[in-house]
Subunit: 357 residues, 4 copies
Amino acid sequence: MDYQRKTIGILTSGGDCPGLNAAIRGVAKPAVELYGMKVIGFANGYRGLMEGHSIELSSSDLSGILTEGGTILGTSREPFKQLVKNQDKIDQMIKNYKKFSLDCLVVLGGNGTHKTANLLKQHGLNIIGLPKTIDNDLYGTDFTFGFHSAVDIATEVIDRIHSTAQSHSRAMIIELMGHKAGWLSLYAGIAGGADIILIPELPYSIDNVINKLNQRHAMGKKFSIIVVAEGAISKAEAKMSKKQFKASRSDMTYSSIGYKIAKQIEEKTNFETRVTVPGYQQRGGTPSAYDRVLATKFGTYALSLILKSDYGLAVGITDNVVSARPLEEIAGKLKVVPKDHMLIKSGFALGTCFGQD
Amino acid sequence: MDYQRKTIGILTSGGDCPGLNAAIRGVAKPAVELYGMKVIGFANGYRGLMEGHSIELSSSDLSGILTEGGTILGTSREPFKQLVKNQDKIDQMIKNYKKFSLDCLVVLGGNGTHKTANLLKQHGLNIIGLPKTIDNDLYGTDFTFGFHSAVDIATEVIDRIHSTAQSHSRAMIIELMGHKAGWLSLYAGIAGGADIILIPELPYSIDNVINKLNQRHAMGKKFSIIVVAEGAISKAEAKMSKKQFKASRSDMTYSSIGYKIAKQIEEKTNFETRVTVPGYQQRGGTPSAYDRVLATKFGTYALSLILKSDYGLAVGITDNVVSARPLEEIAGKLKVVPKDHMLIKSGFALGTCFGQD
Amino acid sequence: MDYQRKTIGILTSGGDCPGLNAAIRGVAKPAVELYGMKVIGFANGYRGLMEGHSIELSSSDLSGILTEGGTILGTSREPFKQLVKNQDKIDQMIKNYKKFSLDCLVVLGGNGTHKTANLLKQHGLNIIGLPKTIDNDLYGTDFTFGFHSAVDIATEVIDRIHSTAQSHSRAMIIELMGHKAGWLSLYAGIAGGADIILIPELPYSIDNVINKLNQRHAMGKKFSIIVVAEGAISKAEAKMSKKQFKASRSDMTYSSIGYKIAKQIEEKTNFETRVTVPGYQQRGGTPSAYDRVLATKFGTYALSLILKSDYGLAVGITDNVVSARPLEEIAGKLKVVPKDHMLIKSGFALGTCFGQD
Amino acid sequence: MDYQRKTIGILTSGGDCPGLNAAIRGVAKPAVELYGMKVIGFANGYRGLMEGHSIELSSSDLSGILTEGGTILGTSREPFKQLVKNQDKIDQMIKNYKKFSLDCLVVLGGNGTHKTANLLKQHGLNIIGLPKTIDNDLYGTDFTFGFHSAVDIATEVIDRIHSTAQSHSRAMIIELMGHKAGWLSLYAGIAGGADIILIPELPYSIDNVINKLNQRHAMGKKFSIIVVAEGAISKAEAKMSKKQFKASRSDMTYSSIGYKIAKQIEEKTNFETRVTVPGYQQRGGTPSAYDRVLATKFGTYALSLILKSDYGLAVGITDNVVSARPLEEIAGKLKVVPKDHMLIKSGFALGTCFGQD
């Protein structure tokens, strides 16, 4: 059949994230084994496409990768802001797309990746984007793969902290990933039963945090669990200019928001405070069953689009159905936690403090 | 306010399932702490309601239970078939409902539980049902809590088996729960990269299974992973009467379908075959983050219905939105895997054998 | 230096076991990287040595394997009983040993492997044995690597079963690996708080098992956890001839001892009984931290012996010190659980039933 | 019998640590159930003994605690330095010991706990100490319970970081617990295959660390894993007075050594550096199978000493045998990693950098 002649390019871009290999496999294994297509993997994200650094993926390359963290293709960050000013790099990608006779390029990534994907679409390339990020902040999909794996790990961290918090008057801070969106902290915070959850979408007042600590202490609770997204900001900071904000954080260059809040709590109360920074743990390990299933769905769905020569799309899951929409509809848009999200309401009902009045 | 006067009964019924305590907490913690309601927990399912065996749940009863497996209320199986013939028991439940001055009874359970819930509704009681089962076979909701926890455990089992399958010509059978529906085997099978998945919805032919084994052997693969739902049936069995079917399984009374298939494979091939039966592991352990979140949503949503005196409903999640529908719409209906489910298609694309031609 | 000229052969033999790659790395990485030796890996155990099927291990072959289950070299079972009658195979191994100019052959395995190792020593080859088996039944070492990983997994299974056992009068049977020795069942049973532990070294009476169940029931306990080693035997069976024993188990060819005991319990009591057979799970997954450390110690210690041309030894850990003893001292000897082992005493003190009076 | 009349006091003191409940159960369950003794649990460590804050432990208090993290008795830090100057507090403990008619007091703790235990022994009380700490720095025992659980968690953290480290030129720092002793970092570092391990016993030079990073980079390695004990010190700091040292760390009051080293690396190289601080995770969660077994052995062994009225002893495990020695022999002594420890040698052989030349 005609579709068996197609050549697919594939690359993974941006930060590490569990499920990348599962998604690659979902696209490439049936493409190679069932349809006899040629699948070219580009190394280290868009950089590999620029440099023509690639391998043709065989059946055996795709075997045993479903459960592996990281990405067999490697990844890199190629900031869109710089790329868009550098037409040479763009031309180089277009040239290589043609040189490899690609019928389509599948890109796996987050916000930056999809902006570049849309740019390449505008230059006439056939692109399909798959939504990956542990931050879940990609517009146009209810969930990205990688997110639930990160929630699992962060929840496990909170669980362990919970089980140790035996001493009196101790505040345990867990700083989770999420610069612009608080999805991970919200989900893991609710799943772990955190007492206080601070996310970028809901600027906090340290006084509200301390009130909650005092209130729990008054109720005889021995400890409090505070989940802080790394992008959490105070109400004062939320009103600052970018420059002011940067200055306000200058002391944190080599530390973290968790330590900053710990310092504030210890200065204003007599609660001993301890900080945990799970860091890159949250991007690591084997993808959860949920993410393997989701990434596999995304991958095989992308291939079904390719079979129909349906390009220029971002794959996602909306209302529990895998579907796709034009890249330009989603590129450059951030999906943050809406203030009336059901889990925030659930949190309020359960007595969780979000640093608000 | 008036709603603060309400008295809620709550019970858990049927098989164990992770997330029961998270759901109880989601209903009861805000009811007690935020709204000052009275929440009566009945022990061991409907049996506790019959016998009036109950405790009033306090704040401290609800503390620390979010992460616990099992149920703080206990559970029992009270088969609907027998109950419906036993008006005494039904009367006893109605009597106790009134005796405890309940405004509403929240029941957490699967198919049987919801049938009884609907029966009690027909007798005029205010009932809300929450969908729990690791089998995910409850009609009216895309997912039940407990399901994803079981998928996680089953996938982990498959992963471990995968990493040991070094010897030549070995077939590894993993028998998972699921008498009537293959959801768990389908999800875990895809997540674990099983080569063969046998579920009740797709009756298998042992010849197709063996063909797949031979085909993999011919390709130089050292081993094959076979996931079998405990309710898997052969094509021949699918055509049998109930009586015939029972007779065909008489040798399995104290064994399992996994061993039966192992025997067939060893008789018809020279593959060494090994059987793993994870059994009640799949119902055990702490609920996954996913299920804690889902159960918390269900619980707090149920409470929001109670606040509005909106009764007679089964809570569920459809198209990624938590909602409710009349109990009579869902009672007695089973949700099995549709033959054109996206994961079955993904499986076919990836070369998974479902025991079909 | 002279020792840098050495050529080491290495192979893994017998059943799969976590830690094999960690041990290979412990021997080979410093040999190659620090001492510039040549390390030849033989494929699939002694079979690879017979057939000359091998690869020279490079730095990159040894990178990233520390955490991997299974073995990068493959394994096979080459029963000693048959081998000793087949001088051709032995000659073939000796021939290849010489052909590859080996200064030493390192074999990783259990009892069978060490018997063959000793045989090769008797034929004049320089052999070092490393003790691997999840059964921990190898003589001459307090612990083999793989054992603690299997204990971790088995304990996790018991934990999960524990958390689900909510219903009345239920007996949960968990059948663990261990044909001749009960180490795994003893350790995991104690770690998991099993109520009853049945191991080959202590033949059980089903009446004692049932008495214990009844006794717990009388105390109001809802359930009992029974850990059964796959090699557990009844007192009656312990007195049988091999032939009689085989006949007594003929109905179990494709089932397991767990189901047999379940049947007996259900026939003699009204406890519902459920069986879990973790199977090859126990050999799977990444090695535990303990086993990675132990395997690394064994591997680097083996290399230190090679540096001193100290051969014909079995490495082990005794009194918490890694050491070695002549292969002939340990070959053919089984290490079973002594009846007065401290954990059996601890079990008795804690009320654990071992099926004895 | 006479010993059935005995009354045992028990308390847990110092930092949280997995296995405390397993050890309590090991002492108290047989004491209560088998020997009919009375066991008094004091709340929150020595503080409970001072204040007479206690409960008598019943069978049901001891049921289901084997697997639980934390301690059912609560704990507190009661620094020895202050206690020894406060005769009132000591007198109060002696008074309560007598008031409760204790025949023996069992204390579970680390270095501080055992110093106080020895002090009470000198005042004529019958004391038995059980060795708990995740730091493994208690003299007189090869291993404390809690240690291996912490190693498991720390190793899992390293594993996850490993699987994400895909980008070029990145240094991943994982800061583990261990103020005075590097046991945890050494074991987890070796188990996780860390490239660099910095422990208090081997003061580091940042230049050696950076050399190792450069060397790996030159070999084409994409990343390096650096495990740092929180008590790691540089060679310069090792020569400082206490006062000087404190001043050198003044900028770290609310941050951590991991961030300090990250800053140094980023200033001196162009490697992106990321920091993970697992923090109290390392004290949390259910005890590992290893620690449950060890704590159970310690507990039941302590009881066997009590049955023989053998007091004034610290229980431990030496050369793989559980035994006891006089409290005064171990009190006040720290067990640090010897510079010629086998794992350090293994590390050197495998190319691990310890920050030394």
